[in-house]
Symmetry: D2
Subunit: 335 residues, 4 copies
């Protein structure tokens, strides 16, 4: 039984707490949130300890591992603290908005073998993983192109956007990681373009974009096309396509049920796309906890780790630079 | 908070126990099984009381309601016992294999207003319900035909089949109820035909069939076509179609994910059909508990009750008689 | 080059004339219609001879084969006439509405080896044939059930219905043949039920039904479920499903294109079902001419012949008898 | 009746000749090919005149309009010749591989009102057009992104590739036109990347690419992502997606039929993708002839004309320049 404490009891932290409690080989060792009432609610509902501070969690003998779901600015500190006490870490993305801070953190934890897993949850989606499996099993032959479409159902509040580090660090970062996951390679070059269609004034103010297209080239020359939008009237659109010399695989959108209605007005798929990412990726989040528990139990590094988080952030920086300069930016210019 | 005790800790009872524990407005008050180790396992895992007998549950002040998932032969007795102490009941189908026993039970509980819900779980499947909603909302116009395909992935063990009461009482009973649910009407007439393809010797021995087709007519003349098989090599096949004057709706099969693989050999839907009914109807089982809790909280009769269970059994008897006599049998000949 | 004359220049005759003209190994030798202007139009458009009578066609040395698309009552006479002069025949279904007349025709042409093909066009649909191929190639294992759904988009004019011989002889006859095509067996037993939903007064007057369900049993015990409606608000619904010990195959409806539209109101398949049977089965009609030409060139009997037409009519008679008597009718009671 | 002569009797010319012959308001006035036997075959099969030269066609009073399907290098000359004699033109793409030659042609025909239609056939595909219609009808709100996937089933022979002008001028040119068709705008900026996966040695020799990804920006800032491959093991892959503020539409691939086969090994879509572009776009080619005939009859300019051909070529040049310089190239740098 792996006793995991959850730091941060917002929407994502609470969901992780539920998944840990439901996992047969894990137990929720307690929770903490800087905003005490949030932690109170979870600790009461799930009947677990409400820790007074992150420090108390790090020091507790009842805590085997930590899940970090606090605000982004605290991630690197908490990773360093957990590594210092040898507690395995599952940390929500991103590690930090600043690549310098991420690099400093990397330096500080260098040499440690404490398992660190980054919360790139989409790697654990059954559909996206089926595409990766098709590649890995050779069904698609040599991989040539990957196409990733990610559109959020609705834009987050202004305050969230303003603090997000921009679309590439906050949203596309998942797709940058998906590109590395599907191709199994590092990215060599980034070309990006962005538009302001959803919230032009806000985006102008933040120097940010709400609708973007990106082409990545991997080190071996594979092409990855990514498109993102902060808003999709028809729901949470999440698709991944891989194309190779012997075939193609697509992870299409999912629906709550498969009932269709046929009338003189046409044929309607009865169920809308799921709107909320926690619903869309419910299985993926549960699988992610499972993968973390398994890795820790096997004393193995999780399949998605600190360096994956760092690489995705580097690509995000390259994307902003590409827009600014209207050219393909080599990742080595950033790293 | 509704405290529900579960009687019967087999595969279905355990699943119900988990769903009760996970429901925000319900709590698992304890479990019981005539085979003590089965109950021990659940009571330990979920940290709830292990009752010594069904009687103890009926007498307990800590138990607000009961879920009956014991063997079929005990259902009617337990229903009568729970009604006697005023505890709301969610009972797995069928009420009994004998219509006489069901009628006796009906007589004994007559006049009681204790909520009794029958476990026709498929009514709570989001897809099948979306079809019913399309009918109820008038999208399909006047309903004319319903087509129900139910095929189990693999035949149950011989002992199960021998004690099942035959395919119509054990398996098609779900479809008979689905016919009444979708049409919103009672059945007037039944024609059935059966074959022995899957396990001919066993079926011969039991006077049973493993592959059947049935046509029902409702009291207003709507037609319902049902087909069943005890075996489907490709998975658990569960489809419901409703056809009316203004349109048609189909609840199609569901898959674990929506990834497809395209090669020179063709296009393959990546995910197989779910094989196990508890997976296929996972949401439906959870919704069923929800509907029961809501009905009890509102002091209302659940939407699927004792009489629904009785009607489905009557149709099953009519189906066996139809095969025996090679003619359409009126339900009133049975009831 | 096979020179084929078309008798009957109605909607179907004209379509066949176009397909013959377009076939690389066939030529349209001329046309005839009792209503001269209909034949004039086709002969002028396609620049072919307008024969003065059926007799002239039968006597013409420029005519190698005949396609009979005249009114049903003339089919048997024309078949006999063509057999008498040794001209291969492609005849629209049904041979005649009267089984006695069909039997007499059978007697009169007995012993002839003139190729006679019946226009059960659906056998030549690529989708329905793919289902048959899956059976024939053993992909589905031993065949157990076939489900056929056929719904016309709109009911024909009263005069057509009144002269049609009833739904089983006019519409379901295609499905009876499809049942024999897919199972590769003769039918042993028929149970039918009918309702009057679309045009109750007309159906009452004709002793006919507009909405029917039928269960057939083949000689080896395979089950076939058929449902028909004279009206389907959402278009021409044509589906065939085959289920066997190793798998299942379905020929689903076709659409003019595969564009989908996704909005907040849901997902809509952009193209409606095809409404007109000549559009829906356009490829099948062309394939049918091809199969006829090939059979004649190879001096072989076509794969669907006179006896297939007779068997389908026998099943239709059994279906009417089944409704009248409320019981399963053995085909041998009719034949 | 519009009498159209076909210049060039290769695979595409023959297909156009058939479509003209089948069109109710058009007639095939004759054919010509520099390789006489090719023209002989068509003229004999379709029983039309075999012209001795292009000049004879231009001079003929029996020819109302011309369809140019000769080799690319002759297109501009033939356009100029037809304009000179006032004969409406339907010309296969591209106008010429050299933008200078296209510009010269534009200069020479300036001021003429002879209808000129460019053979961007995909605009006439029912599915791709349904996407455009969804945009035009406002169903998708303000358009934001377009995603075009075009993959050929197999690479053309070396000699074809060597003379093709490169992938952007030969293959992507269709997608560049599709981008302008769907967005209804001119393109302002092009970023392209290319790889050599299919035929590396050939591509190296030609300075060409067989697998490309492109991002276009329209003048108003809409984004278009294009991906192409000269080879797709699974068939001719042709998809177009449009995404706007109110919704999304996709034109998916088409299949010959809709039969599916379900076994323990999974679910297979029975029909492969169509492999040959003439099959895939059969309806589009027929619609294209129809649009040309209608435009000429109405003395209107066709909806896709000379300038569309020129614009697509300019984008192709910008794409090659973008790869060479690793940056986004403004279209105005080329034009």
């Amino acid at each position: 039984m792996l006793n995991i404490a959850v730091l941060g009891c917002g929407r994502i932290g609470r969901m992780h707490a539920d998944n840990i409690a439901a996992h047969p080989d894990a137990a929720l060792a307690g929770v903490y949130d800087i905003h005490a009432p949030a932690a109170d609610e979870v600790s009461q509902k799930l009947e677990v300890k409400n820790f007074a501070s992150a420090e108390e969690i790090m020091a507790s003998k009842e805590v085997d591992a930590v899940l970090i779901a606090t605000s982004t600015a605290t991630h690197a500190d908490l990773i360093e603290a957990a590594v210092a006490v040898g507690k395995p870490i599952l940390c929500e993305k991103p590690i930090d908005l600043s690549l310098d801070r991420v690099n400093l953190c990397a330096q500080r934890i260098a040499g440690s073998d404490v398992p660190i897993m980054l919360g790139f949850v989409r790697r654990f989606d059954p559909g996206h993983r089926a595409v990766r499996n098709a590649i890995a099993e050779g069904k698609l032959g040599d991989l040539r192109q990957v196409i990733i479409s990610s559109r959020d159902p609705a834009i987050a509040p202004d305050a969230y956007i303003e603090a997000s580090g921009g679309i590439f660090r906050d949203m596309t970062i998942h797709d940058f990681d998906m590109a590395r996951f599907q191709t199994g390679e590092d990215i060599a070059e980034v070309f990006a373009t962005g538009s302001r269609f959803v919230a032009p004034a806000l985006m102008e103010r933040c120097g940010d974009y709400d609708t973007i297209s990106v082409i990545l080239r991997t080190v071996s020359g594979k092409q990855v096309l990514i498109n993102n939008s902060r808003e999709a009237a028809y729901g949470h659109d999440q698709r991944v396509e891989a194309f190779g010399g012997a075939g193609m695989a697509i992870s299409e959108n999912r629906r709550n049920h498969m009932a269709t209605v046929h009338t003189a007005a046409g044929t309607n798929l009865g169920a809308p796309l799921q709107h909320f990412f926690i619903d869309r990726y419910a299985e993926a989040f549960a699988n992610e906890i499972g993968a973390f528990v398994t890795a820790v139990e096997n004393k193995a590094q999780p399949e998605v780790g600190f360096e994956d988080g760092r690489q995705a952030l580097i690509i995000a920086e390259a994307a902003f630079k590409s827009i600014a300069e209207g050219r393909a930016v080599k990742v080595e210019e950033i790293a």
